[in-house]
């Protein structure tokens, strides 16, 4: 149980840091083709932004959140993530259903991590190594907090000269594989329609909570 909570904490922190990385990545991707350099520069730059007192004021909270979300949408390959989270079921969907699902999936993942932005508190990122094979890269990092060290592996894919994240493993737990099992469990009983209903309900519930 302890370990499991640990995992959840780590999952949250890590996506927060991805978001951090994303805010500035747009500027950097043009100059650096190396995935690791890109990540590193971006994280450094965005740590500065997250620490900026100006953006921390309650009035600018939504602005900061939106800023993060805009860039997240640009840097994560949400379509590919949605596709692999559905597995074989994806192919049986119409184009329209696929598009709708990508939207829902994106909101769901965003919700999982958006709550963590406010609790960001000077965590540091250590870059351990990157493995590159053709158009794929894996970047090994550690997030260092007061009492914890969280290993995170980012998986990126180069598409038209731009590195896009398509999965991340936090303490060896893959975000996509985890959602795949989650969705499978719903689809088995309630088919794809049931899954869509469930995500919609869940998102509404989270909206009203916030």
């Amino acid at each position: 149980m302890r370990k499991y909570f640990n995992y959840i904490w780590k999952l949250s922190v890590s996506l927060l840091l991805v978001m951090v990385f994303l805010i500035n990545s747009g500027k950097i991707s043009a100059t650096a083709n190396d995935a690791m350099t890109q990540l590193q520069k971006a994280v450094d730059a965005i740590l500065v932004i997250l620490q900026s007192e100006e953006l921390r004021t309650p009035e600018r909270k939504d602005e900061r959140k939106q800023l993060v979300l805009d860039v997240v949408n640009e840097m994560f390959d949400f379509r590919d993530m949605a596709r692999s989270s559905l597995g074989q079921n994806w192919n049986s969907l119409t184009q329209e259903e696929q598009n709708r699902f990508v939207g829902l999936f994106t909101s769901l993942v965003e919700q999982r991590y958006i709550g963590k932005i406010d609790s960001f508190d000077n965590q540091k990122v250590v870059y351990r190594k990157q493995l590159v094979k053709g158009d794929k890269a894996m970047i090994y990092t550690d997030i260092v907090d007061k009492d914890l060290e969280v290993p995170i592996i980012y998986k990126l894919q180069e598409i038209e000269g731009k590195w896009l994240i398509y999965d991340m493993k936090i303490e060896n737990v893959s975000l996509i594989v985890n959602y795949r099992k989650d969705f499978e469990s719903i689809i088995r009983k309630e088919q794809f329609a049931g899954l869509v209903d469930k995500i919609t309900q869940q998102l509404e519930k989270l909206e009203t909570q916030n």
């Binding site: 149980m1 302890r2 370990k3 499991y4 909570f5 640990n6 995992y7 959840i8 904490w9 999952l11 949250s12 692999s84 597995g87 074989q88 769901l108 993942v109 919700q111 999982r112 991590y113 709550g115 963590k116 609790s119 493995l131 094979k133 794929k136 894996m138 007061k146 009492d147 592996i153 998986k155 493993k169 303490e171 060896n172 737990v173 893959s174 594989v177 985890n178 959602y179 795949r180 099992k181 989650d182 969705f183 499978e184 469990s185 719903i186 899954l195 469930k198 995500i199 869940q202 519930k205 989270l206 909570q209």
Partner: protein
């Protein structure tokens, strides 16, 4: 952490002084002084020991050897990482899902634990964190973590990791003394000795035992057949067992450990389960993946 060790140490000294002023029995304060001296000796002894360690390692041949073996390990790990990657698309259908013959019962206990969290543990942890500063709670976490070291050392040894085993042992000795009963992680902060986080469940996994089937225990949470067996092994290697404590004490300490842990991770459980569609399935998979990862390392 160092700061706390120092605080605690100075507190011991303060007490020595008080005792002198109070003119208590000589025997008593000699004993206390001995403890102080001993912990200081250990403190500096550890430094000396660490210096020796670096000297030894910096012998050129050793460096070459260790680097070569490290590279080898790295290359192997990298290869397996890419293999996982190549299975990415195939994983769609064949992804290892642990058997769950007890699902109805497991779901019941999952629900029970969920309510336990929201109705009992969370409010308690909130009150607890309101009265105790985060630094103290981290120290308490360290204390409980330190008690797992002997078991970890044994498990490293059984898995043939002699070096990791000695690191665990050193961590236990140093943190229990220089780290003041394990409240400070002296070994990590000063000597950069890191725990390998092994346990008996991982040892069984290392020797090829799969999870067999998934189990959700009331109070204890997600587990599987292998890790439940492992827990029994871990319990036998836990120092508490040698104190022959009453079960009330054991349960009390376990609860403190748990509440303390939750107080440091408030909000994470909620976020994860609320953004999962079938939280039971999501937790089951997270547990499975997490343990697989630990066994591989």
């Amino acid at each position: 952490m160092i700061y706390y060790s120092r605080c605690l140490k100075s507190r011991i000294f303060d007490r020595c002084n008080e005792k002198e002023q109070l003119n208590q029995s000589d025997l008593e304060h000699i004993l206390i002084l001995q403890v102080c001296v001993l912990s200081f000796l250990l403190f500096f002894g550890a430094h000396a020991w660490a210096d020796n360690l670096t000297l030894e390692v910096s012998a050129p041949s050793l460096v070459a050897a260790s680097e070569a073996s490290l590279l080898e390990i790295d290359a192997k790990a990298d290869e397996s990482a890419w293999q996982d990657e190549e299975n990415w698309d195939e994983e769609w259908d064949t992804g290892a899902t642990i058997a769950d013959p007890l699902e109805p019962l497991n779901r019941f206990f999952f629900h029970f634990n969920d309510k336990l969290y929201y109705w009992v543990l969370k409010p308690v942890a909130r009150g607890y964190s309101a009265i105790l500063a985060e630094e103290f709670r981290i120290s308490i976490g360290n204390f409980f973590d330190n008690l797992l070291s002997p078991g970890r050392a044994v498990n490293c040894l059984i898995q043939g990791e002699v070096k990791d085993s000695s690191v665990e042992l050193a961590r236990f000795v140093l943190n229990s003394t220089a780290g003041i009963f394990g409240f400070g992680d002296f070994a990590r902060d000063i000597l950069d000795l890191r725990s390998s986080e092994e346990d008996t469940g991982q040892t069984l996994g290392y020797y090829g035992l799969g999870g067999v089937f998934y189990i959700v225990w009331p109070f204890l949470g997600p587990s599987n057949f292998r890790d439940s067996l492992g827990k029994i092994g871990d319990a036998y290697m836990h120092p508490m067992i040698y104190f022959d404590a009453d079960w009330e004490v054991t349960v009390g300490l376990w609860t403190l450990d748990k509440v303390n842990y939750i107080s440091l991770t408030l909000g994470d459980y909620e976020l994860f389960t609320e953004t999962a569609l079938d939280p039971y399935a999501a937790v089951k998979d997270a547990y499975q993946q997490y343990r697989e990862g630990q066994i591989k390392n």
